[in-house]
């Protein structure tokens, strides 16, 4: 594996941020780096960048220790957005590209080319503080990719973007992947991960909970999702009485069921037919990544109360 994180440990005072984290990230993939807040994702990225030092463990890229890699190997879009407010877009993108070793004239040409591709060529001479948050985010994305890094660390790149810009950014990232870049995508948007990532890892409390291809991770729980559609407006509440089945999305004509490992989906179909229902749709799919995430991180979907809001306090008399 080209990018390997092995046994990474990092402690901040009393907090064990990383507790032996292991990851294997294939080259030229978009890799979904998932975990709850405080799971250790940002710490891992900062160690890779050399901003923090690990207490133990290693990060290697094609066998080379990350501390021996040139800084320009990495492109980093931090979760916390920020630019120099009074500098123009062109000035600051050239500044960041020069810090990564790009000649100023080449950097200026690249900036204008990228701005044109993101459909904002007029931004070049505008000050950063005159741009909207979303547009500033696009500029920061450019600051991360301008110098043509081998590995891109993207920490919540889509947060705060409107749907059009999300699509633009997704296209840009996929194009970079097609050019051989390795992209590590840290996000809470599971649909985005499912749409973009070939492989994923879920981390919790500084440890890898599961890692692998998207398909393997989704099948890792052994659960399956069944979608059953019938005609004539039949109620399907009775399906929850079948052992191993739980209604995820109830409905009149159609219902989505979660099946526990070992439950055969055909038992659902057989039960519907036995009741004389006319089945018009029957589909067995893997659970969504969100379902896997919730299950693996200790918040089973069945435990509705865990995910529900706490009750309102008693009104004061």
């Amino acid at each position: 594996m080209p990018l390997v994180v092995a046994g990474l440990r990092k402690r901040f005072g009393r907090i064990q941020a990383l507790d032996g984290l292991d990851l294997e990230i294939p080259s030229g993939h978009v890799f979904g780096f998932l975990g709850a807040n405080g799971a250790g994702k940002t710490t891992t990225m900062r160690i890779a960048l050399g901003v923090l030092h690990a207490d133990a463990g290693s990060i290697t890229w094609h066998g080379t220790d990350h501390r021996r890699l040139p800084r320009a190997t990495w492109g980093y879009l931090p979760e916390e957005r920020g630019l120099y407010p009074k500098m123009t877009v062109l000035e600051q993108l050239v500044f960041f590209a020069r810090l990564q070793g790009m000649p100023a004239d080449l950097a200026a040409r690249e900036v204008r080319s990228w701005l044109a591709r993101l459909r904002v060529p007029e931004f070049a001479d505008r000050r950063a503080d005159s741009l909207s948050k979303g547009n500033q985010q696009k500029i920061q994305f450019l600051a991360a990719v301008m110098h043509d890094p081998q590995i891109l660390l993207m920490d919540e790149p889509f947060t705060g973007l409107d749907p059009v810009n999300v699509v633009l950014l997704r296209q840009a990232l996929l194009e970079l992947r097609d050019r051989g870049k390795t992209i590590i995508l840290s996000t809470h948007q599971m649909e985005t991960v499912e749409a973009m990532c070939e492989s994923v890892a879920i981390v919790d409390h500084g440890r890898t909970v599961i890692s692998g291809t998207l398909r393997d991770v989704k099948r890792s729980t052994g659960r399956q999702t069944v979608t059953l559609g019938v005609e004539n407006g039949e109620h399907l509440d009775w399906l929850s009485e079948i052992p191993g089945a739980r209604v995820l999305r109830p409905g009149v004509d159609q219902v989505e069921l979660d099946l526990t490992p070992g439950t055969d989906p055909r038992t659902i179909l057989a039960a519907a037919v036995a009741r004389g229902l006319r089945v018009r749709h029957f589909e067995v799919t893997d659970p969504t990544l969100e379902q896997v995430f919730v299950e693996l991180l200790g918040h089973p979907a069945a435990d509705d109360e865990t995910l529900a809001l706490a009750p309102l306090p008693e009104p004061v008399a």
Binding site: R11, F12, G13, R46, L49, G50, V51, L52, H53, D65, R67, R68, L69, R71, W74, Y76, P78, E79, E80, R81, G82, L83, Y84, P85, K86, M87, F95, F96, R98, L99, Q100, Q140, A143, A144
Partner: protein, 435 residues
Amino acid sequence: MSERHDPTFPNTGIIANREFFERVRSRPYRASTVMLSLLAVGIAFLPVIIRLLDRDTTTRIGIVADDPALAERASGIMRGVLASTSGTSAAGYQFVIEPDRATAATAVGDGTMDGALIATRDPSGRLDFTFITGQGIGSDRTQIIAVGTFAVAFLEWTELVRPPGGTPFIPPTLNVVAGAGPTTGGAPLAATEIASRQLLGTVLVVVLFLTMVIYGMWVAAGVAAEKETRVMELLISAASPRQLVLGKVVGIGLAGLLQYATILAPALIALAVQGPVGQALGLGGAISPPLVGVTPALLLAYGTFFVLGFTLYALIYAAAGSLVSRVEDLQVIALPMSLLGIAGYIQAVLALSGGLSTFMRISSFVPFWSPFVMFTRLTVGRVQPWELLLAYGLLILAIGLVAGLAIRVYAAGVLLYGQRPGPRQLLRTVISPDA
């Protein structure tokens, strides 16, 4: 475990370039340059202004003689001589006959009198004089008094000895005793020379202190602003803490030097022309050219103290800036450093007034204070070459040590948000940067 190879250049230069132009283009920079230029020119013209306001000041001299008649005569002759010699009205001098030397000396000591002239007659009839000088009596006025004593002795000789037939005229001796005020080798410095040196020292030390604190705060505010705007997150992935700290210090330091030249040039011109300006205002030759003391070597020493002193303070300011999350929080954390600078500045001002204590002599080698105190000592001409070299050496050594610590604090501080580290955490940061 090997560290990433992050050479100081070119990134330090790229960062310094950005910092320099950001400062120079900013409105506060331009405004402060104009304001400080005006302030420096104002201070440079201070002696002219003081002389203008002080033109009616009366110098009080006590006269003590063996017999009252001699005292009266001496007083009258001195008044007449001073009227013709000094080119100003004799009303500027007031002579008061004192009963004895002890009383006169006490009056000089407590400032009631500016000086005391004691006339004694030896058995041959020759007059000898002792002049006790107080604050404000320099060699220029002492020389005028010397001329006056010559006149007193000569007229006394012509009147009492009545040549020919008497003893030939023997010029009187004048023994000058410092009762108060600065001296050099026991002889009082010329008042104008003292003023010139004090003025020069004051202008330069004031500007040195102001600029070091102001530029230091620029560094701290720059770092804090990068944290506040969160651009720091991008920066730390693109450059090493060493490159970031040094680039900021160098860039802002160069902007400071440019401002310095802009401030100092008109001030030096003002110092150079204040003699003619004083004459044009009818202040006679009372104002000597203050630039007598400004030599290229002194300016070089000054420039070196500025560069080294600024670097030392700016490194600490950079570390301090990294510990706050907002620019508004900077004042609290920057205050101790300002106090450190103020302590050196006050000592420099005290040294300028001629009071160089052992403590100040020692503190002139302390790196945080030497830019002020040693430079002041240099201005008033009380420094051996080895002392200057030692002060520079210690300053450079301190910069090396402080740079190492500041970069460690900065590397950890820039990642801290929403919390101000206590002393214990700071210490831990220095020992183990990102623990």
